[in-house]
Symmetry: C2
């Protein structure tokens, strides 16, 4: 199966601890790296991982809180020192470019590559990235400031040709492309050979949804329906439900409820508040609602499957 | 002896590695914490140490390169989340406040404490901090941009009274202060009792000098003469001496030469370039010139003595 993995670089909330760093993830799709959020220490975490800086071209920022973007300056600066020449694309709500520009100009005035800022709205889902194998769409969330998640969707690959069958039916080379894309074949005698006899289906396209930071928001269920992996923030436990609501965050139980309603295959929780001594508490709470839940931790590499 | 320790939080150069983080140190003088430089990841390193955020009130920035100050935003923000109310004083060359202000306003708009920016010149030594037990003076360095080090000097404490002797000579209480400060005592009979018979000397005042980033600069020798501990950058080895000069950095051998000429008691080297696989190479090179050299590493806590 083609590579589609989520690497956790940091999964704490605003206040870092000895266990957790501020938020950052790298989604590896066929060795193209897509970063989601870039808290302080992100470049240090990449150093510790097997991820290669040169494979990273796109960074998506969920919202403009410091724990999701204070690592950008260091990362941008180091990519320059590493001799990067390829453009680096950063996607965020409006405002980030204005905040970074003065520092970029001062600290990175000899950057050998270009940083390209892209902005997106936060009200409706927007397609913000599209290549031959992947799309990335925003997932509007609800937080103390405009915030959105990201839906990574593989494109369905063509079916695999059964070469023994295409040989048997003497399919002309010119027809092979259409058959891979699902067409039936009509022989010289007019016989219709159904596509299913000529091909085997390719792996179903996979989806990963990232949702942080947000209050419990059922509106997102429709958009993330059936995804293979859902990352959802679980900053608090149910015992701090009032605090969660007040700060526009989610409890572990609420994250699991979203996973259940959206019928996702697996739930990954993170963005843990520094107030708790054990992450196991989050897992226990979530699993009462959605058993196929796993805990994020720094260094985790989880395949989307 | 009163506490006077240097804690290394990061001692790499601009490009962090799996071994070294960007520059930051905390000087602990009698449990008051003074930070020197604040590279990315500094707050994470404090978390790992036994240092207490609440004891930190003063941060000195040597120069405005990112690897010496990209950790400020995260640290300032987290101190706010920790409920700090005391002012935080940041000392640097002019320009830092203008660079941080827009981000402070946006990301830290509800900070429960005040950040006070102080600026200093870079041409002449300037006294930038003075309390009852310590002074901090800048050490002008030479780098690709204005840069300076910091000289931490303990104030000499009064002598200790020998109470058996002051009792014996029936020294009035009103005279004790002057005697502690070094005065002789004249008895009612007119006999002069020398101070040395009435007191024992207190521990000699200690000095710590921090010099990074800089090209080899003999001019500093006079100012750091005889310090108990000298931190000097050693970004390169002699094999890269040309590169050191070109980038306004120092080699390990040059750092040791400064230590030798300044007759310091101990040399601590750091700011190691990411290009070398082993720090031992720096130590070996420095020790050929100045044997009492030690290597900085993250987590080191070195007493000034």
């Amino acid at each position: 199966m083609e590579k589609f993995e989520v690497n956790i670089l940091g999964c704490g909330s605003a206040l870092p601890t000895t266990r957790h760093l501020p938020t950052s993830q790298v989604v590896n799709v066929r060795d193209k790296l897509f970063m989601i959020d870039c808290g302080e220490g992100t470049q240090l975490q990449i150093r510790k991982s097997r991820l290669r800086f040169s494979r990273l071209n796109h960074i998506f920022i969920s919202h403009l809180h410091g724990d999701h973007c204070f690592g950008l300056m260091g990362l941008i600066s180091s990519l320059g020192l590493l001799g990067r020449t390829a453009k680096l694309h950063i996607y965020s709500h409006k405002g980030l470019e204005e905040l970074l520009k003065p520092q970029l100009k001062f600290f990175c005035n000899k950057l050998p590559y270009e940083v390209v800022f892209h902005t997106f709205g936060m009200k409706e889902p927007e397609l913000i990235y599209d290549d031959k194998s992947l799309t990335v769409t925003t997932i509007p969330l609800e937080h103390r400031m405009p915030s959105c998640g990201f839906l990574f969707a593989e494109k369905q690959r063509p079916n695999h040709l059964k070469s023994d069958m295409t040989d048997f039916y003497k399919v002309p080379i010119a027809e092979l492309y259409n058959i891979k894309m699902g067409a039936d074949f009509v022989t010289a005698d007019g016989e219709v050979i159904p596509n299913s006899r000529l091909t085997t289906p390719s792996t179903p396209a996979r989806k990963y949804a990232y949702c942080s930071d947000t209050i419990y928001k059922e509106d997102i269920v429709e958009q993330i329906k059936g995804v293979d992996l859902l990352f959802h923030e679980a900053t608090f436990l149910e015992t701090e439900k009032a605090r969660a609501k007040e700060t526009y965050h989610t409890t572990a139980k609420e994250a699991a409820t979203i996973a259940l309603k959206a019928e996702v295959k697996k739930l990954l929780i993170g963005h843990f508040s520094a107030r708790y001594d054990s992450d196991q508490l989050f897992l226990d709470e979530a699993q009462t609602i959605f058993p196929n839940t796993v805990l994020a931790y720094e260094g985790l590499c989880l395949p989307v499957e």
